[in-house]
């Protein structure tokens, strides 16, 4: 792999500073989806963007935002390339990103030891009895929470409820 130049690093930072269209508290860098910027000549750039979920509808908005920001920075031609390998994982969310999610009221994904397919265990329905590590409530911090639905307002979130403060909340589920 070719080492990135100082300008490429600057452009990568710029592209990474774009807020996520669905979760504007996070930048694309904190979400871990901007992989690289390659400069061609002096004013053309190619940006490698990886989707969180294959069908994530926010990817197109992200591409447009990146394109706009880099053009405003003086680049004439900006191409956003979708890269799938290596597959994005919630472990790619930065520690700062996790902190912001929690502050925003979304329980951040738990960090896994190994990457790869999510191991699933079958537990009694509508409980989290078999989950190894609790998902603490982002509102009151209680570890006593239950799963309501594996799917929530967006593909990347699950819906949970805190059994202490009774508030429902989104959990950025592990992928």
């Amino acid at each position: 792999m070719v080492t990135a130049t100082a300008l490429e690093a600057e452009l990568l930072e710029l592209a990474g500073s774009v807020p996520d269209p669905e979760l504007p508290v996070l930048t694309l860098h904190e979400l871990g989806v901007v992989r690289a910027v390659h400069l061609h000549g002096t004013d053309a750039a190619e940006v490698d963007l990886t989707p969180t979920y294959t069908g994530c509808p926010a990817v197109e908005a992200m591409s447009l935002d990146i394109e706009r920001v880099l053009r405003e920075h003086g680049l004439r031609e900006v191409t956003v390339r979708r890269v799938l390998t290596p597959a994005w994982s919630t472990d790619d969310i930065t520690p700062e990103g996790r902190r912001k999610l929690r502050e925003f009221g979304i329980a951040p994904p738990r960090v896994r030891e190994t990457s790869g397919p999510v191991p699933l265990t079958l537990g009694p329905t509508r409980t989290d009895a078999t989950e190894a590590e609790p998902v603490p409530c982002p509102h009151c911090g209680s570890p006593d929470t239950e799963l309501l639905s594996r799917f929530s307002s967006t593909a990347c979130k699950a819906l949970r409820r805190c059994l202490s403060c009774r508030e429902p909340f989104d959990h950025f589920k592990e992928l």
Binding site: L49, P51, Y53, T54, G55, C56, P57, V59, E60, S63, T79, V80, R81, R82, V83, L84, T85, P86, A87, W88, S89, P117, V118, L120, L122, T125, L148, S149, R150, F151, S152, S153, T154, A155, L159, K173, L175
Partner: protein
């Protein structure tokens, strides 16, 4: 935005995998506004969205995604007959999800482990489908081991769709997969879920009597034509229209 290209993509295989995802995505989308609970509405729509994303990547590997989705005739689609089956009652939808997501999970895990042209997409899809499979398993257990009515409906649904499950393990040109091994793992996995759900593995043949082939050869069941008509009519009525 351009998709990652690959040197040689086997067209038949891309259409088979892409059409499975596209057609099931459309069927699940039909639940919008009709699901038994809001959470379920959201869950089915999310699963449909994952599948649509996979379909877009797969079809784009071998052509223009819109042309392939909206302008092909029924006989040119290579999806399994299983995924085109109507939603039926909720139990039918869950049985279809159980059979298909178990298959898709095993198949994509195998493709992801290889270095073929589908490995990058499969590596992403396998993680998404793990959630689809889990969703189907949990519901199968809840309905099978629920009330007398839910048990009976789940049993009926599993039995009704059983004859579409044999087709999943017919070799697909361009996919380097040990189909017999895949089938035995699938049977084992589905049997385990059904057993936990107090249901039994359905009896009877796993293929239809019609010998001309099935979805992979472009032979589809009657409800598929009606589904396609609905899916394609807007694009065909207003060619080139955009939002």
């Amino acid at each position: 935005m351009t998709a990652t290209g690959s040197a040689t993509v086997p067209v038949t295989a891309a259409l088979a995998l892409g059409d499975d995802a596209l057609v099931l995505s459309h069927r699940l989308g039909e639940w919008a506004g009709h699901a038994p609970a809001l959470e379920e509405e959201v869950a089915l729509a999310n699963i449909a969205l994952d599948l649509l994303g996979q379909a877009r990547v797969l079809l784009s590997l071998v052509g223009d995604e819109d042309e392939l989705a909206y302008l092909r005739e029924e006989r040119s689609f290579r999806n399994l007959q299983l995924v085109e089956q109507p939603n039926g009652d909720f139990a039918h939808t869950i049985a279809r999800q159980l059979y298909f997501s178990t298959y898709q999970h095993l198949l994509h895990a195998e493709l992801a482990a290889g270095d073929g042209p589908f490995a990058p997409l499969a590596a992403k899809a396998v993680k998404e489908v793990a959630y689809h499979r889990d969703h189907a398993e949990q519901w199968t257990r809840r309905l099978g081991d629920g009330t007398g009515t839910s048990h009976e409906r789940m049993r009926r649904a599993c039995a009704a769709l059983w004859r579409f499950t044999g087709e999943m393990f017919q070799p697909v040109e361009g996919l380097d997969v040990d189909w017999a091994a895949l089938e035995s793992r699938w049977l084992e996995s589905v049997a385990e879920v059904l057993d936990r759900a107090t249901l039994t593995v359905p009896e009877g043949p796993r293929t239809g009597a019609w010998s001309a082939g099935a979805g992979r050869q472009g032979i589809h069941t009657e409800p598929f034509g009606r589904m396609l008509a609905e899916m394609q009519h807007l694009h065909r009525s207003h060619p080139g229209a955009s939002w």
